[in-house]
Every structure is written in structure tokens, then in C-alpha cells.
């Protein structure tokens, strides 16, 4: 034992000496060398060239992969794309790429690819090249059925986005929203689900009474929403695959603001059955309710925080609507927003860093966010009638409804308030957007 201990000591001493030597040798020349620190990056979006994919016959006509990818990347606010007319060449594989040309055009990345038909499937082989490093950072082949070219394009967008930013893309997710069409006299409310770019929209519910507050289940397969179809508000759970609907809350007074728990087993609801608007947790299976707020003021718009333990909600207990946080179901609410008299409908990110909400300032309603680490508030939008913020599952994009020449439209911004991207208008008003989680 003693012998071993001695050996250990010797070894430790040797290690110490060695490490000191290494340290001395290592720091000596390095400390003498000049170090330049770069703490700020370019303010502008990253230039990316999406070259039209080469097509080897049998590819269905319609929107081209490159333009869908281009739009996706532009929508994120983090990229600016080069229009194909300005490209000096249209390579479709790495060996055809002259990096110097792209560097001359100020491009950082080039996406090249080709499509080929294989039976009823279309295969894409594509590569993402780093112009400065002259390296391929992504190379893949993916196939879809002929009718799902858009799925393929969004998939490529996701991959490109992740390769460059290190964050998974959210272009293959879905949007749920409500349109109101009053063109034919009687109002038509339609609950729709579409791609993130608003394309491939499908109506899931149509009613002449209002439909509100669509909320995605965590698996992206169900929607909970408020429908007035019986003349008064009730909460339904709608299975998108089968179209089956279940009315889960139809109490006297308010039945509103459904929000799913992360495990998908319970809903937060706003009910006024006990007097005025309070937030309850409903176990979906048993329909058991637990009241989470108890105040004479309005308490509504409850949503779970990133931990799944606490909730954010809106309350006007201070006189006007403000965002509050309860760190657990029983904790005392803590007020989060102080920046103005009206802050409502909280939407926290999945990291616990920020909470986004509707914020009134100078008479206009904007989307703002508060940094939960320091309470710092940032107003993200400049439009004046902004509502219903909803975050993409990667936390990088945010969609909200706003008014554009009297009509409600949807707009996507980057979550830090970067460039805005308006979704193509459909007929009538578009409101209540809800960004789906990653659909498995």
C-alpha cells in the first residue's frame, strides 16, 4: 500500500511538472502573438445562391424546388438569395462550381442539385457549398412521391438552414389559422392548415360562427380550438388525420384559450363558470378540472412555460392586461411585463429565454418580447394592429396576424425582429395563426 502511495505521489509530481512545462511552453509564444477579437458580425442577412436544379425529364411542372427553397430561406429573415438571372453559371453539381465566380458575386453559399424521376417518385441530389472555404457542407439525396414536390423543397430548406445556422429548420412544419370570408353576405369562418409558406392550405372546419384560438397538440396531429358553432363558445379537440372532433369544454360562460401541455394529456382553459375568467387545467382523458387562478380580475390566455411546470398568463389584476408567470401551479403569480398598459397573450420560447406577446404602445398593437433573464423588453414589429404571435418550433421565426389595408394577413419575422415576410394573401381575413411543432 505504502509503495503504491509513493508511486502515486511521484506520478502526481511528475504530472504537475509536465503540465507546468506544457503550460509554460504553450503560453509563451501564444501570449506574444497578436490576437484580434471579432465581437460583431455583419448586420445583413447571409447571401445564398440557390441555383435552379437540373431536371432530367419527367419532373412535374409547377413551382420549382429552387424558388420554394429560396422563399423559405428568405422567410427566415436570415438569408438573402440571389436571383438566377444574376448567376454567371448554373451548375448542378459540385464539380461544375467555380468558387471564384460566386465569391465575386458576394455569395457565401451555393446550393446546387438535380432532380430525376424514378417511377412515381422524384429524387433530388443536392449539395450545399461554402464559397469561401471551398468545401461541401451538405450533400444528400432525397425522394418523394411525384405529388409532394413541395415537401421535398421544404425538406431541402430545413437541411440547408441547419447546415448553415446550426439550428434545425422549421420549413416542413405546418400553420393552422382561421380565415373569415364575408364576400357572400353570410360570414364563413374556416379553420385551415397549410405549409409554412401558406401553400397547400386545407380547410378543416367551416362555420358561420366564429372559430378561435387553434392550438396544436405536441405531436402535431390534433388541434384544440374554440368554436361558436352552437351559438356560444366551446372547446373542441380535432384529430387532423381522421377529422374526428370532441367537444371537451362547454361550460356556462367562457370556454376559451386552449393550450396543450407538453405531454399532450392536459389542456389549459379559460372558463368563467365560477364567476369570471379564470384559468383551469383539464385532464383530457378524465375531463377533471383544476383551477389555477383565483382572482376577481380577468385571468386568461394561459400557456405552459418551457419547463412544463409553470404557466404564463394574461391578467388585468393591476388595472390593465399584463403578462404574469407562475413558476408552478400553486406559486404566486409574478408580473413579467411593465413596459406599457397593455401586454397580453404570452408565448414563451422552448428555451426559457424569452416570452413573446402583444404589446400596446402609442395606440398601436405590436409584437414584443421580454428577455426573461433581465426583463428587457424589445418591440419586434412596426405594424400597428398586430395580434396572435406564434413561434416556430425552432424558436427562430415568429408568425403573427396584422392588418394590411383593412384586411388581416399573416406575417413571418425572425424571432429577434428581423426582416418581415408576408404570407401570400388568401381570400378574406386570415387570423389566429398557430405554428405547428415538428410533425413526426
Amino acid at each position: 500500500m505504502t509503495h503504491r502511495t509513493n508511486n502515486t505521489y511521484t506520478f502526481m509530481a511528475l504530472t504537475l511538472v509536465c503540465s507546468l512545462l506544457v503550460w509554460a511552453l504553450g503560453t509563451g509564444p501564444a501570449s506574444a502573438e497578436l490576437t484580434i477579437r471579432i465581437t460583431e458580425g455583419a448586420d445583413s442577412a447571409i447571401p445564398v445562391a440557390v441555383v435552379p436544379f437540373a431536371e432530367n425529364g419527367g419532373i412535374p411542372a409547377g413551382d420549382k424546388i429552387n424558388s420554394i427553397v429560396q422563399d423559405d430561406l428568405a422567410m427566415s429573415g436570415e438569408f438573402r438569395t440571389l436571383s438566377p438571372e444574376k448567376m454567371l453559371s448554373l451548375p448542378s453539381k459540385r464539380s461544375e462550381v467555380y468558387y471564384r465566380d460566386w465569391r465575386l458575386l458576394g455569395q457565401r453559399y451555393v446550393l446546387v442539385g438535380q432532380l430525376s424521376r424514378n417511377g412515381d417518385r422524384v429524387e433530388a441530389r443536392y449539395e450545399l457549398l461554402d464559397v469561401n472555404r471551398e468545401e461541401r457542407i451538405l450533400g444528400e439525396s432525397a425522394a418523394v412521391s411525384v405529388g409532394n414536390m413541395r415537401t421535398l423543397a421544404h425538406h431541402i430548406s430545413d437541411k440547408v438552414y441547419e447546415a448553415i445556422t446550426g439550428v434545425p429548420g422549421a420549413f416542413s412544419t405546418k400553420l393552422a389559422y382561421v380565415t373569415l370570408d364575408t364576400a357572400k353576405g353570410e360570414p364563413r369562418y374556416r379553420l385551415q392548415v397549410s405549409d409554412v409558406d401558406g401553400k397547400r392550405a386545407r380547410v378543416r372546419l367551416e362555420s358561420k360562427e366564429p372559430i378561435l384560438s387553434p392550438a396544436w397538440s405536441p405531436d402535431g396531429k390534433k388541434l384544440a380550438y374554440v368554436s361558436f358553432e352552437t351559438g356560444k363558445p366551446a372547446i373542441y379537440i380535432h384529430e387532423l388525420g381522421s377529422g374526428n372532433r370532441t367537444k371537451v369544454a362547454d361550460f356556462r360562460g367562457l370556454n376559451s384559450a386552449p393550450a396543450w401541455s407538453r405531454d399532450g394529456r392536459s389542456l389549459l382553459l379559460t372558463l368563467s363558470k365560477d364567476g369570471n375568467a379564470e384559468i383551469y387545467r383539464m385532464d383530457i382523458q378524465s375531463r377533471n378540472l383544476k383551477r389555477l387562478t383565483n382572482h376577481w380580475s380577468i385571468d386568461t390566455e394561459g400557456v405552459w412555460d418551457h419547463s412544463g411546470e409553470g404557466i404564463f398568463f394574461t391578467s388585468d389584476r393591476s388595472g390593465g392586461p399584463q403578462i404574469y408567470h407562475k413558476s408552478s401551479e400553486t406559486a404566486e403569480p409574478r408580473r413579467i411585463t411593465f413596459g406599457s398598459r397593455y401586454n397580453a397573450r404570452p408565448r414563451p420560447d422552448s428555451q426559457g429565454d424569452y416570452v413573446y406577446y402583444v404589446h400596446q404602445r402609442n395606440g398601436g398593437f405590436h409584437i414584443a418580447r421580454t428577455d426573461l433573464s433581465n426583463g428587457e423588453e424589445t418591440v419586434l414589429t412596426r405594424t400597428a394592429s398586430d395580434e396572435s404571435p406564434s413561434l416556430a418550433p425552432n424558436g427562430r421565426m415568429l408568425i403573427y396576424a396584422t392588418k394590411h389595408s383593412g384586411t388581416s394577413v399573416l406575417t413571418v419575422i425572425s424571432a429577434d425582429g428581423g426582416a418581415a415576410y408576408s404570407l401570400p394573401a388568401t381570400e378574406g381575413d386570415v387570423r389566429e395563426p398557430a405554428w405547428s411543432p415538428v410533425i413526426r
Partner: protein, 189 residues
């Protein structure tokens, strides 16, 4: 007698205090407090409001004194009952002074016609969030409902529903549109 004079004086001071309290503090909050928790106070407060809204300041004995006058009043009230929409300020559920007389007429009518049912539809303007506006519309409908109950209507005759900002009376994003959309509508069935 001596005692009752004292009582009266005390009551007057008290009621003055109540009135002062009602008009000087935020009534939005006041109504909520009354409505949700303390109905007895609600009725006292309502009575005070009723006395005030009658306008004449004379006691109830006038009614029995002159039938002609009562008939005239009834006609007036019927005319008033044509008004079924009541407006609110932004983010409040405070019943405006000019609405009270009309609402009293409605309350009396409901009191006199126990089988009559009415649906109170609360609305908000488009500003703010939809869910919060739903709650706000409900708060407005509830405020009207309480007022009617206090003035003779029965809770069983009434049903409230809030549409929030979903069913604007007037389209548009102007101050006047918003003002016309912040309302409670009485729908008699």
C-alpha cells in the same frame, strides 16, 4: 322618531359615501368586486344607483299618487326599451350614466314579464387580443346582467354570451367603429 332621524342621517351619509365611492373609484373594478363576491353590497349599491337614475329625486310614493303620470312613464319606458345596445369605453365594463335609465326600463319590463327571456351579448372592439377581448365582452355582459337583476329582473330570464371582437357591428379600424363595437346587445327571444 329621534332614532329614525339619526338612522336616516346615518344612512344618508353612508349612501353618499357609497355614491361617492362608486363614482370616484374605478367602476370597472368595483363592479367586478360586487358581482363576483358580495351580492348584498351589490343590491345596496344598485338601489342607490336606481334612486339616482330616477332623476326626479322624489320618493316612490309619487307613483301611487297619480296614475296618469304612471301611464305616461310607462309609455316613456316602452319607447326606451327600443334601445337594446349599450356602449362602453376601451377596456372597461362600466355602464355609462345615460344607459342606466334605459336599462332600468328593461329591468322593469323583465320583472313584469317573468316568462320573457333575454340574451346578453358582450362585444369588444378589434384592438387587443382575441381571448382577452372574449373575457372583456363577457365582463360587459355580466355588468349589464347584474344591473338588470338589481333592478328587478331575474337571473333565470337571462343568458350571457361573449363574442369578443368576432362580431363587430361596424367594420373598420376607426375610433367611431371601435366605439360602436364595444357594446352589449340585449336580444329578446
Amino acid at each position: 322618531m329621534k332614532l329614525s332621524v339619526h338612522q336616516k342621517a346615518f344612512a344618508m351619509v353612508l349612501s353618499l359615501g357609497l355614491v361617492a365611492g362608486c363614482s370616484s373609484t374605478g367602476e370597472t373594478m368595483g363592479e367586478d368586486e360586487y358581482g363576483s363576491d358580495v351580492s348584498a353590497v351589490d343590491q345596496d349599491g344598485g338601489s342607490t344607483v336606481y334612486g339616482g337614475s330616477d332623476g326626479s329625486g322624489v320618493s316612490a310614493s309619487d307613483l301611487t299618487e297619480e296614475e296618469l303620470r304612471a301611464r305616461e312613464e310607462r309609455a316613456e319606458q316602452e319607447a326606451m326599451r327600443n334601445i337594446t345596445t349599450f356602449y362602453f369605453d376601451f377596456d372597461t365594463a362600466e355602464i355609462k350614466a345615460e344607459a342606466r335609465e334605459v336599462l332600468v326600463a328593461h329591468a322593469r319590463f323583465l320583472e313584469n314579464n317573468p316568462n320573457q327571456r333575454v340574451r346578453l351579448e358582450g362585444h369588444a372592439d378589434e384592438r387587443g387580443t382575441k381571448e382577452y377581448n372574449l373575457a372583456l365582452g363577457e365582463r360587459r355582459a355580466n355588468a349589464v346582467e347584474r344591473f338588470l337583476i338589481v333592478n328587478g329582473a331575474s337571473r333565470a330570464q337571462m343568458e350571457t354570451v361573449s363574442y369578443g371582437e368576432e362580431k363587430p357591428a361596424v367594420m373598420g379600424s376607426s375610433e367611431s367603429a371601435w366605439a360602436q363595437n364595444r357594446r352589449v346587445e340585449l336580444v329578446f327571444e
